[in-house]
């Protein structure tokens, strides 16, 4: 029983990381209709920036995290302004390929600056743990859940209740009608990319913290978050978060029990679990858990 609760807890922490990555995808997709394959690069960039600020420049860790999120947000908005705004009106396929190109460019930048070797993020959590009764939880997971919770709650508060969130939702629903109401949709686009940059950075930080370490492969986690996004329904922020949590929990449960109860599936089966869950859910609900039907036309 303790094992089970512990796996669930670790799964939720892992799921929170996926949720942050998936939220970045969804925010951009909703506003602009673009699937941003460069999201994984924000994840890598955010983590390496924390290393730069916290370890190389020896700034306090919390400050390094905030700065990394801000810089990554700036990079996101910059990419939108410099590259993507020029291609508005081009075929969606071309825009998506541009984001693929950006992914490779940014990853190349990361390895040129920080190299290929595995680094220590320099977070204060390390491998330390806390005990709650018989339960042993890592500080890293606790902080992941706290930070993700705060950021996600902030995002949803803005999205639901603020004027800016309303402008974002209106733009996603009908761009021209939003413009006719005086909403500056270019600002909405830029802000969406900035938000994606910031939450991607935070995801990267929580992924690379502790024993995991920092290496250029970190951007690959975006691949595992992809099912989270599709599962949630591509254009639903809430769906992205739930999709992330579902996939995180199934992944840790699989890692915990599959070797024991279904060894015939082979080693490391948990790695492909996100895709298994995605396929199963899409078979029942083709538009994801919370997606709108229109998305299917893609």
């Amino acid at each position: 029983m303790t094992d089970f609760v512990q796996l669930i807890f670790a799964g939720l922490a892992l799921g929170a990381r996926y949720a942050l990555v998936a939220l970045g995808f969804v925010v951009i997709y909703r506003a602009t209709g673009v699937i941003n394959f460069a999201q994984g690069a924000f994840v890598a960039l955010g983590a390496y920036l924390v290393y730069q600020f916290g370890t190389t420049w020896a700034l306090p860790f919390a400050l390094a995290v905030i700065l990394a999120m801000l810089v990554s947000a700036g990079v996101g908005a910059g990419v939108e302004r410099v590259v993507l705004r020029r291609v508005i009106g081009r075929p969606v396929f071309a825009v998506i390929m541009i984001t693929v190109g950006l992914l490779f460019l940014l990853e190349q930048f990361v390895t040129s600056v920080w190299g290929h070797q595995s680094l220590n993020l320099g977070d204060p959590w390390g491998v330390s743990t806390a005990s709650i009764g018989t339960l042993v939880v890592s500080h890293r997971d606790v902080w992941t859940l706290v930070l993700a919770g705060v950021v996600l709650a902030g995002f949803f508060a803005v999205f639901r209740y603020s004027g800016f969130g309303l402008a974002m939702r209106a733009t996603a629903l009908d761009q021209e009608a939003a413009m006719a109401r005086g909403i500056d949709v270019r600002r909405v686009f830029a802000a969406s990319w900035a938000i994606a940059g910031a939450v991607g950075a935070l995801a990267g930080i929580t992924i690379a913290s502790g024993a995991a370490g920092l290496n250029p492969g970190i951007g690959l986690i975006a691949l595992a978050a992809f099912p989270a996004m599709i599962l949630g329904g591509l254009d639903s922020p809430l769906g992205a978060v739930l999709g992330g949590l579902i996939i995180g929990v199934t992944q840790t449960l699989t890692a915990g029990y599959q070797p024991q109860y279904a060894a015939w599936l082979g080693e490391n089966f948990y790695v492909v679990m996100p895709f298994v869950v995605m396929i199963l859910i899409l078979m029942v609900r083709p538009f994801g858990l919370f997606g709108t039907k229109e998305v299917a036309r893609l």
């Binding site: 209106a170 629903l173 009908d174 009608a177 939003a178 005086g182």
Partner: protein
């Protein structure tokens, strides 16, 4: 109409609009709207009415359109080709053809969106109360998804959205389109009521009888040009208008081809 000595709230001068750099849709359109008046803009399908509204509110780029000649002024300030947020802050709010409310958002959220562009947020609650008073049916349904409203209610919501910006003037693009006669009449009366509050109206309509019955002045747009203008009463009495837009006169001439050839003759003789 401009002879009352006031600066027109909207003045369009010799406007030319081209789509995709080649399709010229407006060819030298001029018109004026005096403060607090209702001006009707009539014209057949494809005449360029919606295009004119897009040109005024800065929505042409969405359609790959561009103003290639002429000017648009609001209260004497030139605003040609300014983007939509700037136009709204100059006091002009548009209700688009087909209403275009945000179907998945609630009525109240739709109205809040209408107020987003406003600089002075202090008058917002007051405007909201006024809109609710003007359209009591919206007050009853304020937490309902806009997509669930009837066509007439959606038209009211779209008008309410525009009013939330606190405009000096609204542009309405075929508000009676697709509505029952009763609903259209209701919309007509609401337009009059809004206008009585001092808001200027530029009313694009195919329902010419309705539009002319409330217009202080009216223009007829044909193939990208203003071919006629006059007071609402004058145009109601005009033989061509009766024939083309009001469906009175020789029934035999009402087929499209006949009207066209008749128009050609009419132009020659003019």
């Amino acid at each position: 109409m401009p002879d009352d000595g006031h600066e027109p709230i909207l003045a369009v001068h010799n406007l030319e609009v081209v789509y995709s750099d080649v399709i010229r849709v407006l060819r030298g359109v001029s018109l004026e709207v005096a403060p607090g008046s209702i001006v009707a803009l009539l014209g057949a399908n494809g005449a360029g009415k919606t295009t004119l509204l897009r040109a005024i509110t800065g929505l042409l780029p969405v359609h790959h359109g561009r103003i290639t000649k002429g000017t648009i002024s609001l209260n004497g300030t030139e605003v040609t080709s300014l983007p939509p947020p700037a136009i709204i802050r100059h006091g002009v709010a548009q209700v688009m053809e087909g209403r275009r409310v945000f179907a998945e958002l609630t009525v109240a959220e739709n109205l809040r969106i209408g107020g987003l562009a406003r600089r002075n947020k202090r008058g917002l609650d007051e405007t909201y109360a006024k809109v609710m008073e003007l359209f009591p049916v919206l007050a009853d349904r304020k937490d309902r998804s806009a997509g669930l409203l009837s066509g007439g209610e959606q038209q009211m919501l779209a008008m309410g959205q525009a009013l939330m910006a606190g405009p000096a003037m609204i542009l309405l693009d075929e508000p009676s389109l697709g509505l029952s006669a009763l609903n259209a009449l209701q919309i007509r009366n609401l337009i009059v009521e809004i206008n009585h509050g001092g808001t200027g109206v530029l009313l694009v309509e195919q329902n010419a009888r309705m539009a002319l019955s409330i217009a202080d002045h009216a223009y007829v747009l044909d193939n990208g040009k203003v071919v006629k203008d006059g007071s609402g009463a004058e145009l109601l009495a005009d033989r061509d208008i009766q024939e083309f837009y009001l469906g009175v006169g020789d029934a035999g001439r009402l087929s499209f081809r006949d009207v066209k050839s008749y128009r050609r003759k009419k132009r020659w003789s003019a």
